[in-house]
Amino acid sequence: MSLLSPSSRDQPVLQRSVPWRADDLVRWLSVSALGGVGIVVGWYIAAGEASDSRQVVPLNVAIGGVVLAGFANLTWLLRGWHAVGERRKALLQQLPAAGLAITFDRRAATASEPHSAAAGEFVGAAHYFHRPTCSLARGRSWPPAPLAMHLRAGRKPCGVCRP
């Protein structure tokens, strides 16, 4: 089946090609099939009975089948959502290591810049200038300077912090 690769059963969450393991698929299919069988059996028995009082049990069997299948579907989807959420969380934790930061509020980002650099000042040497908070400027002794000065010196904006 193309939904899951054959070796996905024992793979950790970050190395799978889909959010589910093979045993999740087996469980979903088998419990859904059991629910489907319950519906068919309920229908078959109910169709052979002439009295409605004798059809109550097969009706209950069919309803039980659809509830079982619904439970299987819900479990399958919850597993998928959980795996995707875990992976998203793991990727977000990798962002600082990659030199990238997520700032949802521009004012908050500006407020977190060091006081040694005034607003509108950037640091840099050689050919590029950076925001003072840029990971590439970390640990450097570059003095902060206004944007115009960096431009006059022929420096270009850094591609990481995009000042």
Binding site: S2, G42, V66, G80, L91, A98, A126, Y128, L136, G159
Partner: protein, 121 residues
């Protein structure tokens, strides 16, 4: 788009649409069957096969559709992870080159920076 390719790539969405279509049809046929009989004993088999069976198929269809969305999101995360790996490598190179530029005031930064900007794009 090639039909064979579409079937291979989107088989779960097609199966979902099929299940939802058959489920809706089962519910409709069940309703027609129930409305055509006066006695409860004759109506219950239609209720089970059409109503309950249709509900089952609708559930399977919805699950398949949401599953394919989750699979797509998983593949997007694959791409994000690959891009992050590439960015991390480029940053290491850039830091190395900036150290060199700091020490010797050399001109190696530009190439690396350009390469890194290309990765980010």
């Amino acid at each position: 788009m090639d039909l064979g390719k579409l079937l291979r790539q989107q088989w779960d969405r097609l199966a979902a649409m099929l299940a939802v279509g058959v489920g809706a049809l089962a519910v409709l046929l069940g309703w027609i069957g129930v409305s055509g009989h006066a006695y409860l004993a004759n109506q219950l088999p239609y209720l089970i096969s059409g109503g309950v069976g249709g509900l089952f198929l609708l559930g399977v269809g919805a699950t398949l559709w949401i599953s394919s969305d989750l699979r797509d999101e998983w593949q997007k995360l694959d791409r994000v992870e690959r891009a992050l790996d590439a960015t991390r490598g480029a940053i290491l190179l850039q830091e190395l080159s900036e150290d060199t530029a700091d020490d010797a005031d050399g001109d190696v930064h530009g190439d690396i920076q350009g390469e890194h900007t290309a990765v980010l794009r």
